[in-house]
Symmetry: C2
Subunit: 332 residues, 2 copies
């Protein structure tokens, strides 16, 4: 059987079975990051690789490549509520790459590391036909957020507003003029990691979290599956600029905010009586909290529309991509 | 200017300049691994990537790919004297890869992790035209071995005997019959990481160490450069099977043991009065110690032959490769 017949999720399930757990691991294969117990500390470890052909749309600058390779890894730390410690990169480049391009990739990594407080600890250089950047992030934390902790009765919430990155990708792949939608393209090419937000959620009693890399629908499915509950979506906090872009282009805004990926906001669950406190603390770091639904007994993901529950399909944002995003995803 | 005009070593020097140090890093870019201070502990972090076209000679089995991707990273921990904690992998594969091949790669990783006591903490899966495996190893240690600690008057030594992997590569690239030289090919495809040996060296007062990945000559140059000393090579402990292979094929055995890479033995310096104690401790884990020379005031690497000092060129084992090995190497 070919890997393409199985898909990434099944492969991760197989690896979970093949690779026996290890007593030192509190969290192993299958979450945003792995957690290793080390004395009183918890180390949080993650890796994500970006390939030029599938992860860097035409027009991505070298700085943006370096920045994004750092941020997708830091975002996994954010989803666990961890504090970043260090970043390493295995960077592969064509040998005819210009030194200035190389330098700008390094600068993008450096800016992201500085912004989010990670030490650039080094890496590995090699030749390859296309640019490929494998990033590794190490963090630490006391209370760790997992995908599997959502409880029946919890509120379902997200940081920020959704859909900008997917709309930005739509603009680039359809060669639309960028003009007044520069912010959408920038959201795609220069994502942010919600590090402080993740630490607030961990400290303030969130029960589960995941970063929105595959899209709200797909990431809701992952939380529901890992927690053994049903997620009921009551509203979708689409970004106002995405609303406007969709209206002008006669497009469906929820295609971007529900099925589009790479927003890198945090999706989380939390007891309802903690919501206002968390909202206040998030506001202090300039981030909005939107309650988008609730956690119920059951399985899967449903959307409440006019008092009725409709099923939400488990599909990621490959819809907007030539290269299916589902081909890349986390084992840890 | 193109990267190919600069070469990897110059690039690493540039990165060291561009990426400012970080107070938390005891060792940053430019050693076998980075060292991060974390309370009383020292975390040791490293990454190395292997690409099918340049790192897996034809005939490499999927288990061997997984094994080697783990071992090259663990070997960097060994060179620092660290205890392995965890391994992560960013694994890229063609989508038409057979599931059995995938499983066997995972098994190779699992065997290496088990043998050297690292927890398999997860990773990332993606599609690529050829197999590429970026590994990431985390270890810890109290006393850390660096490249830059060699002192004038130290003895220069290695663990084990040299040249098998390079002779194995010669056999494969020249399509020679393997027969009685199976061990040479196996040394190339299934290298070992000298973990316990590295821990003994760190505990017993070695002053510097590096793993022999690029070849004895190139790695001696790196130690000399980082320590600001001259390395004088008095003898080369070529493996007896390599001697025999070279004799039969009318080849120069030192081409394999001095300029061939991937032996993954440890090259280290140590005060002469510590040698016998270390030799005894290494013997207990089944490893030989060979004193191969001495550390002098000066620069570079010289070979003492018949009482005269001859210069040793700074070249790695690209000599035996179509794809120069110098295209891949450590930032950390």
């Amino acid at each position: 059987m070919k890997l393409s017949e199985l898909g990434e999720r099944k492969l991760v399930e197989l690896i979970r079975k093949w690779w026996k757990g290890d007593g030192r691991l509190e969290v192993g294969v299958g979450d945003d990051a792995a957690v290793l117990r080390m004395g009183e500390e918890r180390l949080v470890l993650t890796t994500d690789v970006l390939f030029q052909h599938s992860h860097f749309p035409p027009g991505t600058s070298p700085e943006q490549m370096g920045w994004k390779a750092a941020v997708v890894n830091l975002s996994d730390l954010a989803a666990m509520g961890a504090e970043p410690l260090a970043l390493l990169f295995s960077l592969a480049l064509p040998s005819e790459t210009d030194l200035r391009v190389f330098r700008r990739i390094m600068e993008g990594m450096e800016r992201a590391a500085r912004k989010y407080g990670a030490a650039l600890a080094g890496g590995d250089l090699s030749e390859n036909e296309e640019i490929a950047i494998a990033g590794f992030a190490v963090g630490r934390g006391r209370r760790i957020l997992r995908r599997g902790g959502a409880k029946v009765g919890d509120a379902l919430a997200v940081t920020g507003k959704l859909g900008r990155a997917a709309a930005g990708l739509y603009i680039l792949t359809h060669s639309l003029p960028v003009r007044s939608y520069r912010e959408l393209v920038r959201a795609l090419l220069e994502p942010e990691a919600r590090i402080r937000e993740g630490q607030i959620l961990a400290a303030e009693g969130a029960t589960s979290a995941i970063d929105l890399s595959d899209g709200l629908a797909a990431n809701l499915w992952q939380l529901a599956r890992e927690s053994g509950v049903r997620m009921v979506l009551e509203r979708i906090p689409t970004h106002p600029l995405v609303e406007r872009f969709a209206r002008e282009g006669r497009l469906d805004a929820t295609e971007f905010s529900l099925f589009g990926g790479e927003d890198y906001e945090l999706l989380f669950t939390i007891p309802p009586d903690r919501v206002e406190e968390v909202r206040k603390k998030l506001r202090r770091v300039g981030r909005e909290l939107s309650v988008i639904g609730r956690v119920e007994r059951g399985r899967g993901v449903a959307r409440e529309v006019g008092g009725r529950l409709l099923p939400v399909p488990d599909r990621g944002y490959e819809h907007f991509r030539k290269q299916p995003q589902s081909s890349s995803g986390g084992l840890a």
